[in-house]
Amino acid sequence: MAEFLQFIFSGLTVGAIYALVAIGFTLIYNASDVVNFAQGEFVMLGGMTTVFLGYAGVPLPLAAIAAVLVSTAIGLALYRFAIATAAGANAVTLIIITIGASIFLRGAAEVVFDKRFHTLPPLFGSDPIRVGGAAILPQSLIVFAGAAIIVVLLWAFIDRTLFGKAVIATSANRIAARLVGIDTRVIVAACFALSAAIGAIAGILITPITLTSYNAGTLLALKGFAAVMLGGIGSAAGAMVGGILLGLLEALAAGYLSASYKDAVALVVILCVLFVLPQGLFGKTKVERV
């Protein structure tokens, strides 16, 4: 039982990060139909920028805020210079552009930072808390809390503000949104900025547990994308459930089956889910017009 709890805790921790990456994916996808494979790079940038500002003597809270701002600016730049310039291109072309952006950002991180692994000191020390025989790191609790706060704030922002309603309108129908006077370019830009910020925060939260390096983003983008598809693309709830499920699956597979096949187990489950539910767990069936 203690073992099981342990796996659940570690699965939830990683799952919370996958969920944040997946939410970033979903925000951008809903607003612009772009599947952003550079999403993982924001997570890397958040962690790495904080680490290196810290090395430069900046107090960590300030460094973290600066890292989020830097990532947000890069997210905006990605939209302005790459996505907006390529407006109207087809979906695969846009995917390749974001992959190009991801190679570019990784290359830039290699030059600006370095190629080694880095970590941050955990916020409340590293003495594990005992729960039912299992140990949980204080930092894991911070990851859960951080993820929960982000989700609630995001929900409040989307659901309760006029700007948020404009985001919903844009994702429902871009042309109709433009007709009622919404500047959809501003909305899409805001979604890129927001999802970059969310990614950066996720990166800062997880770095004390998993370390970070210039190429940490690729795998996270892959996992985040898998989580999105598991949940059903376009659904925020699906993204969260997909992320957490993926984290849990990996942890349980690593614990009970084989550590080296944990990713394989998670992928097989995703494939099986898609075979039964081709639109993911929460996706809507799309009607094709002929």
Partner: protein, 324 residues
Amino acid sequence: MNVLALFDRLRSPQRHRLILLIPLAVFILLLPLLFSSAYYYRVAALVFIFAIAALGLNLLMGFAGQVSLGHAGFMGIGAYAVTIGPTHLGIPPLFSFLLGAALSAVVAFLVGRPILRLKEHYLAVATLGFGVLVAIVFTNEAGWTGGPDGMTVPGLTLMDWSIRGAGAWYWIAAISFLLGAALALNLADSPTGRALRAIHDSEIAARVLGVDVAKKKLIVFVVSAVYASIAGSYFGLINGYITPDVSGFLRSIELVAMVVLGGMGSVIGSLVGAAVLVILPQALTVFHDYEHIVLGLIVMSVMIFLRRGIVPSLAAALGERRAK
């Protein structure tokens, strides 16, 4: 008449097939005149090897409109077939090569049925999952594959002639590409090719017209898997060494990038796309640390400014100028 557009599109009518293949053959024959060392032969051989894989994927993407983010998985099957066959099972290399292609076809057939029911991004993630699964198996079954460190690929011997040296591989890869292109053009002109184009435009409309959508998609998926497998075998043999990276996610992405950069639905596009992504990293080593930055920038700018791919965009631009 716009020459490029005429002989470049896969959809060119039957009589135009030779207009594409003959210049391609001449190009392959004359290209070595420019080579001053074995290094050139090697890079050119790699270009043609990846062009074979890209061409196969292009049949799937450019024609049937089905994306695959896992085609490097089939490259891996081909590469490990020519490695494991002779090393562990005592199967002669040439036979292992054919077995690898057959195995890829069988795997594609089995996996293709359920996977190809999915659409768009769901298809993308499912194929991605398949490719990563293959890579995980190659990484973990160290007893057979040497694990993450990889293993040596035994040389290829035909009768008593052992094939080594970049020159020999240039001719093998280039001629295989030529044959692959001929087959691809043939498929394009066949009833299956027309059915696939119908599926690309609208799956439902195609089904209403009596096209067996699932079957046609499966055929092109299997064909493209065999192309990738053959390219993978060549890739292992020319390098003499193989690691699970051959079937990794990045390799799959690279193949898709080759197809899209060169131009979807274009035979020459597959070659151009492969050339860009094979030669660029070699050329960019002069930038040392800035290699990835430059590569990323080039990929982004090509896709932004030539969004239909290099070959179709240039062909269209050429056509426009002539029309004026």
